[in-house]
Amino acid sequence: MTISFEEVEHVALLARLQLKEKEKEKYAEHMGSILQYVDKLQQLDTEGVEPLDHILPVFNIFREDQVKPAPKREEILANAPLVEAGQYKVPKII
């Protein structure tokens, strides 16, 4: 299993990771070897096997909608790299 340079670039874009040329080479190689290893799973016939999404039985958990104390805005914003007027500030989007 090999991964092309273009595939690495495409996945990096989806993952929002800026990669250097050298990293692209390394990830192509490492991902290729791991994907080759996980291909072992194809040996197994899983026809009709129900995928296991949750290890525990899952069900909706309902509760009354109550007003409870919430963290303060300043506490939440204290870790933000850039804040203006009580909001997160980011570079131009459009």
Partner: protein, 486 residues
């Protein structure tokens, strides 16, 4: 005997009998840390002043119960209010949570004194603690070797006498493997037993918080404190919680123990297999019924894990984008570039690698072949365990294929490193409780015995671990750290 050498329950007795004060205990522990920490490097953050202040308050109150006056450490992926929580990543180097993880809040409410935050592989991705963005931690039994990972700081600190107990997390073996390498007790509870609220997520369907201690009884005590339903974690389970210390009785007569033949095959060092077989003989001698069984899909657990875990990680780590917390690239001109360059700078190699792999496995066109296939295999692995547990109370196996390896030995080759987890990963895939306890030494390095139980039956693990501990003395061995005998 110095105070720092005492176990949790011994410290409680000392406080109870007024043989020492909380201040004396904290001084002793801090003295020990200052003496060995330049060799071990288990702590990312150490709060000496805070710990001393709390100890003084504790002494001023004058009465002790629960964890009053008892020092402990947290893996630095567990949020601690007002104390930096880095995940051993440049991304969160200066992140100070304004709230406690539920497990941290519970230990705090019990009176415990948080001494500091312990090193790990970045975002818990690794098996050696060498993937920490800051520095590697060293194995107290041999400073040229790794303590294991990802909770390597927690295991090393407990083994080195720096702290009587610590919390870690286990996604594919990250508590049991370092516990094995460092010769301490490590317990990963059943998925859902302990709240994950405030624990930075790696792979949410596999992650679980657990305990490191020097003796089984301490582990049971701490589990009593951290276990239980939490309304802030919808996967934590509402179940009647037994008193886990009630399982500390030296009686396993008639207990049905299975050992899976797949855990004793090639790839596992012969001497490890022999050591574990000795432990099985010990169990027989103590009255247990020990029989061989098969978990036929074992070899597929690791490849399935390396799809499921990275896939979940790629989603969980999307939150680190330079907006709400952590690092930010201020040079970027638009928001997509800001996300991408911040993440490129903030994450280390292994983290990027797993995000890439997970993104690939979930991407359009590959989902069925990789992620869905892995979930089906996960079902087969769980079915294997269910079958064995229909007839047996407990599974016993080695924790790791080898003893601790040398620093640098497995860097650069992800697959070799992943093989470390081959005996621990199936347990997470099936959501079961697992434990590692010391069961011998090979050339001076600890060997771990892995105990695997039915879902929510930590009690049987604790009972079997305690019986082994009471009838052996491996847990009493102490590492000689660079000439200083503790």
């Amino acid at each position: 005997m110095e105070l720092y050498e005492l176990t949790l329950h011994e410290l409680q007795q000392v406080l109870d009998k007024q043989e020492a004060s909380a201040t004396e205990i904290i001084s002793s522990v801090l003295g020990r840390i200052n003496k060995v920490e330049d060799k071990i490097q288990a702590f990312i953050t150490l709060d000496e002043e805070g710990a001393m202040a709390q100890a003084q308050q504790c002494d001023a109150r004058g009465s002790f119960s629960g964890l009053d006056g008892i020092p402990y450490g947290l893996k630095d992926i567990i949020c601690s209010q007002g104390m930096r929580t880095t995940c051993a990543s440049r991304m969160l180097e200066n992140f100070v949570p304004f709230y406690d993880a539920t497990v941290a809040a519970r230990l705090k409410a019990a009176g415990g004194i948080l001494v500091g935050k312990l090193n790990l592989d970045e975002f818990a991705m690794g098996s050696s603690t060498e993937q920490s963005a800051f520095f590697p931690t060293r194995n107290p039994w041999d400073l040229t070797r790794v303590p294991g990972g990802s909770s390597g700081g927690s295991a090393a600190a407990v083994a080195a006498g720096e702290i009587p107990f610590a919390l870690g997390t286990d996604t594919g073996g990250s508590i049991r493997q370092p516990a094995s390498y460092c010769g301490v007790v490590g317990l990963k509870p059943t998925y859902g037993r302990v709240s994950r609220y405030g624990v930075v997520a790696y792979a949410s369907s596999l992650d679980q918080v657990g305990v490191f201690s020097r003796e089984v009884g301490d582990c049971a005590q701490v589990l009593n404190l951290i276990a239980g339903k939490d309304s802030l974690d919808s996967t934590s389970v509402e179940l009647e919680k037994p008193d886990f210390t009630s399982f500390l009785r030296d009686d396993i007569k008639g207990l049905k123990i299975a050992y899976p033949r797949e855990y004793f095959q090639e790839g596992i060092e012969t001497e490890i297999k022999n050591t574990v077989k000795q432990a099985l003989l010990k169990y027989e001698e103590l009255g247990a019924i020990v029989e061989e069984v098969s978990l036929p899909h074992s070899e597929y657990a690791l490849p399935a894990y390396y799809l499921v875990a990275p896939a979940e990680a790629s989603a969980n780590l999307a939150r680190f984008d330079g907006v709400r917390y952590g690092l930010r690239d201020f040079q970027a001109e638009n928001v997509i570039e800001m996300f991408s360059s911040t993440r490129a700078e903030g994450f280390g190699d292994e983290v990027k690698m797993r995000i890439m792999l997970g993104t690939y496995a979930l991407s359009s066109g590959y989902y069925d072949a990789y992620y869905l296939k892995a979930l089906k295999v996960r079902r087969l692995i769980k079915n294997d365990f269910d079958k064995v547990f229909a007839d047996y109370d407990l599974i016993v196996a080695p924790t790791t294929p080898t003893t601790a390896f040398k620093l640098g030995e497995q860097v650069g080759d992800p697959l070799t490193l992943y093989m470390n987890d081959i005996l621990t990963v199936p347990v997470n895939m099936a959501g079961l409780p697992g434990m590692s306890i010391p069961c011998g030494f090979l050339e001076g390095l600890p060997v771990g015995l892995q105990l695997i139980g039915r879902a929510f039956d930590e009690g049987t693990l604790i009972r079997a671990a305690y019986a082994f501990e009471q009838n052996t003395d491996y847990h009493q061995a102490k590492p000689d750290i660079g000439g200083d005998i503790i």
